[in-house]
Structures are given as C-alpha cells and as structure tokens.
C-alpha cells in the first residue's frame, strides 16, 4: 500500500465525505476552533483521499471542523495527508473509527452510518457490528432502535442533532422513550395496533413534545405502566384501551396525568394487595413461635391501621 503523502491544497478542492452522516455544524460551536486556527493555523493535517475519477479533487476522511473553519477564515490552502482511496466498506469503517469518539457523532449519525454499513456488508449481528466499528454493543443496540423509527422521524432528529441540546425538540432520547412506550403498548394491548399504525402512534407522541405537553421525555414511561396495568387486569382492559387511545389522539394530554387519573390508585392498591399477601404468607410461618417485641409492636400498629382503613373504605374499587 503506498504511504500517505503530505501536501497543501485549496479548501475548495476538498468536499465532505458522503458517508459521513453529519449534516452540518452548529456555527457558534466552531468559534473556539476558529480563534485557535486564526492564531496558529492548521497544525494537524486533514486526512483526505483523491477522487479516483476527478484528479485534483479530494474527499475528507478526518478534519471536517478544521476544514469548515479554514473556509470561513479565508485560508488559501490547508495541509492535508492524502491516503489511498478506500473501498466503500473501508471508508465507512474508518469514518466510524475517526468520528464516533473523537468527533462526537450523535447517536442518529451513528445509526445512519451503521445502516449503510449493514447494507454494504449484509452484517446485522450486534457483536459483529461492534467489532467492525469499535462501538460498544450498547451503542449498536441503541442505534438499531433509532433505525426502527419511521424515516421522517429519523430526518427530524438528524436535522436538529447539531443544535445545542436545549434547542432540540426532536431529541434522540425522546424517541427512544417513545419507541419503548409504543412497543410496550403494542405488546400489552394489541387492540391499539388495530386502531393506530406504529408510525401514527410515534408521530402523535412526538407531537406532545412539539406542543409542549410533556414535562420530561421520561413522561412516556407512564404509558408503559398504564398498558401493563391493562394487560395484567389491574384495571378494566376496556378502560385502559379507551384511555390509551385518547392519549394517542389528543396531543395535549400528558401521560403522567392520564396514568394518575386512570390507573395510579388501582396500581398502588394492587401492589399493596401483593405485599399484604406476602405478609400473610410470612406470618403464617410464625405460628407456634415466640414473637419479638418489635414485631408485636409493628403488627399491633398495622392492625389498627388496617381496621381504620377497612371501616372507612367505601367498597371494592378494583377490577
């Protein structure tokens, strides 16, 4: 393999690598680099390869920020290290090695590059993809979950990925929460799938964020809890299906509020009933044994509490 050669080329003879899924840089984030380059110049050469079909034109492998800044700072030329043109798989693998850590690719960028790698190699196993790219398996798994989202949602995430986190509406962590909630909803209440497509549910849930109906992206965890309460018969299944459908249809409804109204009390009582059964089992095993002072005191207090509760209770409110 020929060794890389160093030279200087005009910035406009260089183009972005089409295998790099990064769309753009948040402009102000380049300020610090621009200050440094304006003072010292580019000390570490960009890594490029020459386009086989267009001699004199180069494609970036590494150094997008420096290149973008050099263009803005009016550099006549930039130092480059020219490497041989890689084949598409090599190109992608090298991009992963360069960018996933050093250049902080976002999860959506990793996902898009991973999709291309899977298409080129036919490889879909997490462990193999992790070996090829150097990404931890957890990252590969999360990236594959991002790829399961509808294409238009991936576009939304990708367009906002370079923005500061507080400026992003369509954040990847929002979609990971939505995807998990949708998946639990589908598994627990297949009737919901008959009424709404997966893409519809995801879109409607994302609209809650767009409309400002969420307090936090983790609000969707209450959707899973609601669906599981219906599946486990803690509350009437029809009631849960109606509540879930309303939650999907009305983008102004907040999941924790719906959960609180429909299921929270029943779920809490169900949990207490389970604990009461466990306590009963435990007490049964103590027959004929001497009880400690502490346990006797606790049990008396509990009996008073239980008597008061049963006398004051209006009846069976559970399913």
């Amino acid at each position: 393999m020929p060794s890389p050669s160093k030279q200087a080329v005009r910035p406009d003879a260089i183009e972005a690598n089409k295998h790099n899924p990064r769309l753009y840089f948040n402009d102000e984030r380049l300020d610090q680099l621009r200050t440094s380059l304006q003072e010292k110049g580019i000390l570490v050469p960009l890594i490029v390869y020459e386009k086989p079909d267009e001699p004199g034109r180069f494609v970036l492998m590494d150094g997008e920020r420096r290149w973008r800044s050099a263009v803005d700072l009016g550099f006549d030329d930039v130092p480059v290290q020219v490497i041989p043109a890689p084949d598409p798989v090599d190109n992608l693998v090298q991009m992963f090695n360069i960018h996933s850590v050093r250049e902080e690719w976002s999860l959506v960028a990793i996902a898009i590059a991973l999709r291309e790698l899977m298409a080129l190699t036919g490889e879909t196993r997490e462990s193999r993809l992790s070996d090829m790219t150097g990404l931890p398996r957890g990252t590969v798994r999360r990236a594959k979950r991002v790829l399961n989202l509808p294409e238009e949602e991936i576009d939304r995430i990708q367009k906002e990925a370079p923005l500061d986190r507080n400026e992003q509406v369509h954040r990847v962590d929002l979609y990971l929460e939505i995807e998990r909630a949708q998946s639990v909803l589908s598994r627990s209440l297949p009737e919901i799938d008959e009424k709404f497509s997966r893409a519809e549910i995801i879109r409607q849930f994302a609209r809650k964020r767009e409309e400002g109906s969420l307090r936090n992206v983790t609000d969707f965890r209450e959707v899973s809890k609601l669906a599981e309460a219906g599946r486990d018969g803690v509350i009437e299944r029809d009631k849960v299906i109606r509540a879930a459908a309303k939650l999907i249809e009305d983008v102004n409804l907040n999941p924790p509020e719906v959960y609180e109204r429909v299921a929270a009390s029943a779920v809490a009582q169900h949990e207490l009933a389970k604990k009461a059964a466990q306590l009963g089992d435990g007490l049964e095993g103590l027959h004929g044994q001497s009880l400690s002072k502490e346990l006797r005191r606790r049990l008396r207090m509990l009996r008073e509490e239980i008597d008061g509760l049963i006398q004051g209770a209006s009846g069976d409110g559970g399913a």
Binding site: P11, D12, E15, A16, R22, L23, Y24, F25, N26, D27, E28, R29, D31, Q32, R34, T35, S36, L37, Q38, E39, K40, G41, E64, W67, R68, A70, V71, D72, L73, G74, F75, D76, V101, R102, E104, E126, S127, S130, D131, G134, P136, R137, G138, P162
Partner: protein, 232 residues
Amino acid sequence: MTAELEDPRKTELRSRCEVAVEAAGFTVLQQRPLTPWPPDAGLKGALLGDVVGEDGRQHRDHYFVRVDGERALPEWLVSATEASFAMSGVRIIVVAENPGESLSAACAATGTGLARITELNHLELICEYGEPQQDAQATRFRKRARDVRRKMEAKAQLNTRKLEESYQETDAVTKQMAGHRRSAYLEPIENAIVVWRTWNEEMADRISEALASEDAAALDRIEADVLRGPEQ
C-alpha cells in the same frame, strides 16, 4: 466558496443579509475576495466574511452573520476587527437578528460594526465600525484574557489528547472482550473526553463574556477555574 456542512440557519441568514445589503444600494460580490491581513497582524487566513458588499468607490463592507445574537463576540472576530483598522477601504460588520447586550457591548468596545437584520431584511446599524480609543488598561486586560484562553486551550488539548490515546490503546486491547465488559473500560474514557470538551466550550464562552464586559473579577474567577480544571 462551498457552504457544505454549514449550519442551515447561517445559510439562511447569509441570504437575507445579501438581500439587505443590495437593498441598501451596495453591490454584493458573488466571488468574495480574500483580502490579506497586514503582515504584522499575526493572523492566518485572510479577511473574507459571509457577505461582502462594495460601494461605488470600491470600499468594502465584510459582513459576518451570527445565528445566536445573544452570544458575546468571539475572539477571532475581535482579532479580525483589530487587524482591519490597519487596512484601507474595509469595514467589518456583524449581523444578527436580535443582538443581545453582550454582543452589542463587545462590538462597541472593540469598534466592530454591528447591525440588526429586520424581518423585512433591512439592516439597522447599532454600532459604528471604527477604531476605539482604548486606554492602556483595556489593552492589558485583553492581553490577559488572551493568555488565560491560551492556557485553558493548552490544558484541554493536552488532556483530551491523552484520553484519546488511552481510548485507542484500550480499544485495541479489549477487542476480544464481551460487549458489556468492553464498555466498562471504554465508556469512562469516552465520558472523560466529553467532560473536557464541554469544559473547554464553557470556558471559551466565559472568557468571551468577560472580554465583552471587561470584567476583571470574572477573569480572575475563570483563571482560577482554568487552574482547577473540570470537575470529573
């Protein structure tokens, strides 16, 4: 000049600025010229700008659009303005939709022109371009701020480089490990890299703000924080 990888908000602001400059009676130069810095400016590159407008006497206004008008003027633009005072027939004007106090104060203090672009794409001048009367104290303050920034950058670069090397080595020696065990080695290094990067960005912003407000006490605090480094 290519605009690949450019922030789309900047691309849009650039086009609006072109419309505004033309509306003000200037010719927008489609081939933006690279005007060399004076040799003693000590700056790399050349005076360019996002939009360049020229009047009938071939005086050129170099407009630099800023997407976030709340942020202080970055040092590279301060240095560009300082160098431009020794050049004839050029002005530097920063353009933002809603220039904040910090940006306005920095432009006024450094002599950088500042214009607000209206919804109807007109430019309203907020600060005139022109060499400010700087006293010796202000000059010393700027030099000190620059030194603090250099120290901070050197510290961040050194630490990030070390971590990157450590990541490469760990990556190589853990290749055969199961995913979760491997992540246990790699993730702390990744997290540490992110901590240093974030610290670097935050410090750079704080230095720019201290510069804009000429706040010596703030610079003292920043210098102490630079010595301490980020909380890990």
